[in-house]
C-alpha cells in the first residue's frame, strides 16, 4: 500500500449562495484545489454529497461535476453516507491512491441546502435516520440529538449552560476564518437565552443550514513534493458503522462507531490520543462534540462537557477543537463538511491558519459523523517534513 498525501486544497465560503448552484460551487472549490496543487491531470474525481437528490432533484453528481469542470471521460462517482459523505468520498479517493489504482485524485464535498424551505430541509436531513422507525414519528435530526443531550444531562448532572464552551469556542475561532459563515463571537449569556429548537437544544447548540464546497487533491506521498511545498500525509483513514436508529443501540450515550473508527485510526497511524495536536470533530450539535471527545478517547465517559468547561478545547488548551469554527460556526453544508474539516486541518499543518494557528501543529485528526453516529470516518493527518 502506498502512502497518500494531500497536495492541494480549495474551499468556497460557507453561507447562503443564492447566485450559485451545486455545479458552480463544486467547480469553484475544485478549481481552487487544482490551482493549489498545480496538477495538470486528474485520474479520478469523487464527490461527497448527501442532499442533491432531495433538494435539487439532481443525482449523478460524479458525471455532472466532471462534465461541468471540463474533465471529459474522467472516472467520477458520487459517494453518500449522510453527513459523513465528504469524508466517505475522501476515504474512496485515499483507497484509490493507496492501492495504486490512481495517482491523482480530486475529492470534492458539496452541498446546496438553501434552495429548500426550512421544513423541507428538516425532512431531508431526517432521511439520515431510520425512515420507517424514526422519521415517520416526526423525529428530526435536532430532536435525536436533543434526546441524547437530555439523557446525558440526566445521567451526568450537567445543566444546559454547561455546553456553552463548545459554541463559544467555535464562534470565537470562526471570526478569523474568511470562509466561515457565522463570524461573530457569542457570550455565555447569549447561549443561555437562545431560542429553543428541540428542548434542550437551542439555536446556539446547533450548526446552521448553508451551502458550500471544499476540495482536496491527493497523490502518492513520494510524488507530493513535486507539487506542494508543504504536503500533508494521510496517516490513517478509518470507517466504522453502528445502527442507523438511535433506539437500536445498547447504550445510546456511547458512540460505538466513533470509538471503533478512532481506535482503528490510532492503530493505523501508530499514535495515541495524546499525540494529536488538534481535533476537527463533528460538532453538528454541542452534545455530539461531547460524545465524540469521549468515544474517541480524549475524555473519560461523562467528562466531555467537563473537558470543555476546563478550557481544554480552546486554541491554547490541551486539545484544540473546531479551530476554524467547526460545524457550529464555520457552517455545516452536510456532504461538504468532511472535506472542510480536512482542508482546515491541512491549513493548520501547513502553518497557514492565520490568527487561529495552533503553534507547532504536526498531527491533526478529523472526524466526520453520519446520522447520530451510524457512519463515522476518522482521518489522521500529518505535516510532511
Amino acid at each position: 500500500m502506498r502512502e497518500v498525501a494531500i497536495i492541494g486544497i480549495g474551499q468556497t465560503p460557507v453561507g447562503e449562495h443564492w447566485e450559485k448552484g451545486l455545479r458552480e460551487l463544486a467547480l469553484e472549490a475544485l478549481e481552487a484545489a487544482i490551482r493549489d496543487a498545480g496538477v495538470e491531470r486528474l485520474d479520478a474525481l469523487y464527490i461527497g454529497n448527501m442532499l442533491s437528490g432531495q433538494v435539487e432533484s439532481q443525482e449523478h453528481l460524479g458525471a455532472l461535476v466532471a462534465d461541468f469542470a471540463g474533465m471529459h471521460g474522467v472516472e467520477a462517482v458520487k459517494v453518500e453516507a449522510a453527513c459523513a459523505s465528504g469524508a466517505a468520498a475522501l476515504r474512496i479517493g485515499y483507497a484509490m491512491v493507496a492501492g495504486g489504482l490512481a495517482d491523482f485524485v480530486a475529492v470534492v464535498g458539496v452541498e446546496k441546502m438553501t434552495d429548500a424551505s426550512g421544513e423541507a430541509i428538516t425532512a431531508a436531513l431526517a432521511t439520515a435516520a431510520d425512515a420507517e422507525y424514526e422519521a415517520v414519528h416526526g423525529m428530526t435530526f435536532t430532536a435525536l440529538n436533543a434526546l441524547l443531550m437530555r439523557r446525558y444531562m440526566h445521567e451526568y448532572g450537567y445543566r444546559r449552560e454547561d455546553f456553552a464552551p463548545f459554541s463559544i469556542n467555535a464562534h470565537r475561532n470562526a471570526v478569523h476564518n474568511p470562509c466561515a459563515m457565522l463570524r461573530f463571537p457569542i457570550t455565555a449569556e447569549a447561549f443561555a437565552s437562545a431560542r429553543m429548537i428541540a428542548d434542550p437544544i437551542t439555536l446556539l447548540d446547533a450548526s446552521p443550514v448553508c451551502d458550500g464546497a471544499a476540495a482536496v487533491i491527493l497523490c502518492p506521498a513520494d510524488q507530493a513534493r513535486a507539487f506542494q511545498e508543504r504536503p500533508v500525509r494521510i496517516r490513517a483513514s478509518a470507517v466504522a458503522t453502528d445502527t442507523v436508529a438511535l433506539h437500536d443501540r445498547r447504550d445510546p450515550l456511547w458512540l460505538e462507531a466513533v470509538a471503533l473508527s478512532a481506535y482503528r485510526a490510532f492503530q493505523q497511524a501508530g499514535v495515541r490520543p495524546e499525540d494529536v495536536d488538534f481535533f476537527e470533530l463533528h460538532d453538528a450539535f454541542t452534545i455530539m462534540a461531547a460524545l465524540s471527545l469521549e468515544a474517541s478517547g480524549f475524555a473519560p465517559r461523562g467528562r466531555g462537557v467537563a473537558m470543555a468547561l476546563e478550557g481544554a478545547i480552546f486554541r491554547d488548551g490541551r486539545l484544540p477543537i473546531a479551530t476554524m469554527g467547526g460545524l457550529k460556526a464555520r457552517g455545516h453544508p452536510v456532504g461538504a463538511t468532511g472535506i472542510y474539516q480536512v482542508v482546515e486541518a491541512v491549513l493548520q499543518l501547513r502553518g497557514q491558519a492565520g490568527p487561529n494557528q495552533i503553534p507547532n501543529a504536526r498531527l491533526g485528526m478529523t472526524q466526520n459523523i453520519g446520522g447520530t453516529g451510524a457512519t463515522v470516518i476518522t482521518h489522521i493527518l500529518e505535516a510532511m517534513d
Binding site: 428538516t122 425532512a123 422507525y133 415517520v136 428530526t140 434526546l147 437530555r150 428542548d199
Partner: protein, 145 residues
C-alpha cells in the same frame, strides 16, 4: 408516500408487534430478523405489551414537512418493559408534565395525514399511563381482605 409503505409495516405500526429470538429469547422491536444479541435468525412475531418508561424526550418546535399540524410535539425514546428502546411521539401530555422515567403506555394514533387527499398513517404513540380512579367496592360486592 405510496400507501404500500405504511401497509407493509401495519403489524408493527398499529399494535407494536416485534419479534422474539428463538435462540436466546430476546424480544426485538423494531423487527430486525437477525438477533443482535446472538446473531441467529429471529423471525417469530411477538406482541410487545406497550408498557414502558420514558428514557429521554424532547419537544420539536421546528417540525419537518408533513408534521406542522401537530407541532410543537414531544418525541421520546421509550424503554419497553421487554427491553427494547423505541422512538415515538408522546401524546395526551404537555411538555411540562414529562420526565425521564415516566411510566407510559402505547396507544394507536394518527402519525400524519398527507393533506386532505392522501392516505392517513396510523401508528403507535405513547401516553402517560391512564390514571384509574380508586373505586370503592359496591355494597353488594364480596368483601375481600
Amino acid at each position: 408516500m405510496h400507501p404500500a409503505r405504511a401497509w407493509r409495516g401495519r403489524s408493527q405500526r398499529y399494535r407494536l408487534e416485534g419479534e422474539i429470538c428463538e435462540g436466546c429469547g430476546a424480544r426485538l422491536f423494531p423487527p430486525r430478523d437477525i438477533c443482535p444479541e446472538c446473531q441467529r435468525p429471529a423471525r417469530t412475531p411477538y406482541p410487545l405489551s406497550g408498557r414502558g418508561e420514558v428514557y429521554s424526550y424532547t419537544v420539536v418546535y421546528e417540525p419537518p414537512a408533513g408534521y406542522e399540524e401537530q407541532a410543537p410535539y414531544i418525541v421520546a425514546l421509550i424503554r419497553l418493559e421487554e427491553g427494547p428502546l423505541v422512538s415515538a411521539m408522546l401524546t395526551d401530555v404537555g411538555p411540562e408534565e414529562v420526565y425521564i422515567g415516566m411510566p407510559v403506555e402505547m396507544v394507536t394514533r394518527v402519525l400524519h395525514r398527507q393533506g386532505e387527499h392522501g392516505v392517513i398513517a396510523y401508528g403507535y404513540k405513547f401516553r402517560p399511563v391512564l390514571r384509574r380512579t380508586v373505586m370503592l367496592p359496591s355494597p353488594s360486592a364480596p368483601v375481600t381482605a
